[in-house]
Structure formats: structure tokens, C-alpha cells
Symmetry: C2
Subunit: 237 residues, 2 copies
């Protein structure tokens, strides 16, 4: 059974790294998972990133193998008990996943049941494409096509419009509307503090802050945890 | 002489479309320009966009030819007195510029002296690449390489960090720092209300709100109009 935990953000205001989702993450992986393969490619300093993740996951009883530390990252993915794809810059992350030829082994393993945990950019790349990332296109991946583990797109760090703002740049909702001008796939705006757990045909919204679902041509829908969002797992042309 | 007016944003809070830069725009074009070629490709509804721009520029005594209305956009660029590239989604804009084979004629004409006015996405594409846009990658252009009319990158709608914010997504400055992890080109953060006029070897900051210049490995520099930024026109490896 396909199992994913897609987290909006790794650090919630006022708490430490992964604190707000640690319990959910540990429960999601289950007692049988003792070691996690960490994908550090979304940040420039992979060693520092791996050290931070290792320190945090060890407190949860999880050992960490960072893919940048092994000679053969593909083999590490194929052998992993579970994978955690960390946040950072989505373009950089996807570019390395393609260049290291990790898309196919990651996808195959997750479709075969290996648990996938993503945070922010790591949640973006679990989707069909990265077309709804918030990040700057600092590098050009060969394609925006990503792992395609779920048939929708995510917008992590979803931000509601600020009625008091004088800033005239597009709101997040306006940007998602622009996406729907060119693509019909639903977009789930996951607020900071929210996460989506996918298990087979079930999708459950977790966390504290809720999510906003955008479907082309429809008014946005608001969801409050622990809402079921199973319809999202049905592909839309 | 190469002449560009690169505007951060087309609409400033509390005023109408192009109001905050209309005087500067008219002065920049000069009395000899009577008709402007408008590039509407950054928005989905080109006809509505052209109608809005036409109504506004006609109030400034300027006739408008929108490239979506002509049979041969390349020929229209080659014959234009001046060009205005409107804002919207930078990825969509750049994608169409490449697909319609407009990069080369636009570049040739501007290097030969045709005045170029860009706003937001239209300012982004005047730069070497679109790697410092704020927009969502709703479509994948064949490359992020753009018109390369100036040897730096712009960040339009530049936003200062909000010290009271509880949002944990990257600040604009953090995103630009990520860009400098992969590329040494300077990035000029143009606040809403700011614009940069380039004339040959001279670059002058105009408008009201100032700009913040980011160079790799240096502390950001603050500039207040009418600052001269001629150093920006010297390419950095």
C-alpha cells in the first residue's frame, strides 16, 4: 500500500525543527522502521543539513543515512526502509533527483509500499509536477515533472491573503488561479502546521491549521483536520 | 544607445494602473515615440490585457499595437518605435517569447536603441535569466535564459522581511541568497514603486521606494533614488 506523509513545513513558528510533526511522523513510520534514507539535495550545504536531520531523528529513535554520504544513492533508495525528503529549494531538489536518476527508484519503492515523508520542497516533488512551488527557479531542472506519487499538486506554506497588506504582488490564490489557466489538476494549499497523510486510497488532513483546496472553475474549499480528502486521489484530466 | 525602463510593478497600492510611473514612462519614451508595441503574453487573457494597456497609454498620447493582434509579431517588433512588456507570469511570458522566436529580434532592436519598457515580469525577462522571479512555474520555458539586455538579475516587487511575521517560508532575501549559492550575478531588489532607467552606461534608480542590491558574499546595499547604479552594468562572472 502506498504511504506518504506530506508536511507543509519543517519548522513551525515558536517551535524547533520538526517538533510540530514529530509525533505524527513517528506514528506514520511505525515501530518497524529503524533507519531512514534522507534526501538532502534541496539545500546547498548537504553535510550541515544531514547533521541537523540526524540529530532530530535520532531523538525519535531513528538512524539516518543521508544520500550524499553514500557511494550509490540509487542503491541506498532501493534498500531503504523509509525515505525523508527535506525542504529547501524545490528546483534544486528536483534537478538533483533527475540528474542522479533517483526519480524512477524512488517512485518504484514508494508505489511498492516504502513510506515516504516529505517536507515543503520534499512534499512538492511527491506530486505530479513542481508547478505550484513557491521557490525561486535558481536552477533549471530538465523537466518540472516530479515523482508523480499523488495525482494532484501541493502548495506548501500556503498563505491566506492579508487584507491589510499594501503589497501588490500576486497572492498565493492568484498564483494558483494562474496555474489553473494552464492545467486542470487540483492544488491543495497546505498551511504551515498542516500535513496530509496518504495511505492507499485514503488521504487524511492532519496537523492544526487546515488546508484550502483549489479546483479549476470552482470556489476554493476549506478543510479542517482530521478531514478525509480521498477524492484528491482520483486523477483529474 | 541602449535604453530601458525597468519598472518593479505596474500598479502601486492606492493608485491606478501605471499611474505611479506614467510621467517617467512618457519622459523616457520622448516626444518622437507615438506608438508602442505591447507584449501581452504574461497574462492568459491577452485581449483584455491589451485593452487595459491601450486605454492607459492612449491617455498618455501613445497608440498601442498588441503583438497578439498582428499576423507577424516578429515583424511588428522589428518595425516598432518602442516596446512595452507587461507583467504577469514570468514563466508564461518567457515561454511565449521563445516559442514565437521573439528573443532575438527584441534583443537586436533594443541593443540598436529601441526603447524598452518592462513592468514586473516584463522587467525580469530583460535580464540575463528569470532565475530571480517571484512567480509560480506554471509552464516550463525551454530555458530560463532571457533577453540578456542587462548583465544582472532583478527581483521585482522586492519585499523586506516582516519582523512581526510568524510565517516560516523563505524571505525574499533568503531566496536571493540561495540564488547566489549557484550564480554570482548581482540581484537588484526593486521595491514596489521603484524603477531603474538604463541609458547606455548609466543606470539610475527612480521612483519613491528604493532598492536593495545583493552581491554574492557581500552585505546587501541600500539605494535611494535618484541613485546612480552604473556599476551594475559591468558584468560579473
Amino acid at each position: 500500500m502506498k504511504r506518504l506523509l506530506l508536511i507543509s513545513n519543517s519548522t513551525l513558528h515558536g517551535s524547533g525543527y520538526l517538533d510540530h510533526c514529530a509525533e505524527e511522523l513517528r506514528r506514520f513510520l511505525g515501530p518497524e522502521v529503524e533507519r531512514v534514507a534522507f534526501v538532502p539535495y534541496a539545500l546547498h550545504d548537504r553535510a550541515a543539513y544531514a547533521a541537523k536531520v540526524r540529530a532530530r531523528l535520532e531523538r525519535m529513535g531513528l538512524a539516518v543515512t543521508s544520500l550524499h554520504e553514500v557511494a550509490d544513492p540509487r542503491a541506498a533508495v532501493l534498500a531503504a526502509q523509509a525515505v525523508f525528503v527535506g525542504g529547501g529549494n524545490t528546483f534544486r531538489l528536483l534537478d538533483v533527483l533527475h540528474r542522479e536518476r533517483l526519480i524512477e527508484p524512488l517512485r518504484a519503492r514508494v508505489l511498492a509500499g516504502m513510506p515516504y515523508v516529505g517536507s515543503s520542497a520534499g512534499s512538492n516533488v511527491a506530486c505530479v509536477t513542481i508547478q505550484t512551488t513557491n521557490d525561486m527557479p535558481i536552477v533549471a531542472p530538465p523537466t518540472f515533472a516530479a515523482l508523480d506519487l499523488v495525482p494532484f499538486n501541493l502548495n506548501p506554506h500556503y498563505l491566506d491573503p492579508d487584507p491589510s497588506s499594501r503589497h501588490m504582488g500576486e497572492t498565493r490564490e492568484q498564483r494558483i488561479t494562474e496555474f489553473h489557466e494552464v492545467c486542470a489538476r487540483p492544488v491543495l494549499g497546505l498551511r504551515e502546521g498542516a500535513m496530509l497523510r496518504v495511505e492507499g486510497e485514503r488521504a487524511t488532513l492532519l496537523g492544526t491549521t487546515g488546508a484550502r483546496l483549489f479546483r479549476r472553475g470552482r470556489a476554493p474549499e476549506e478543510f479542517v483536520p482530521p478531514a478525509r480528502l480521498d477524492d484528491l486521489l482520483v486523477p483529474v484530466d
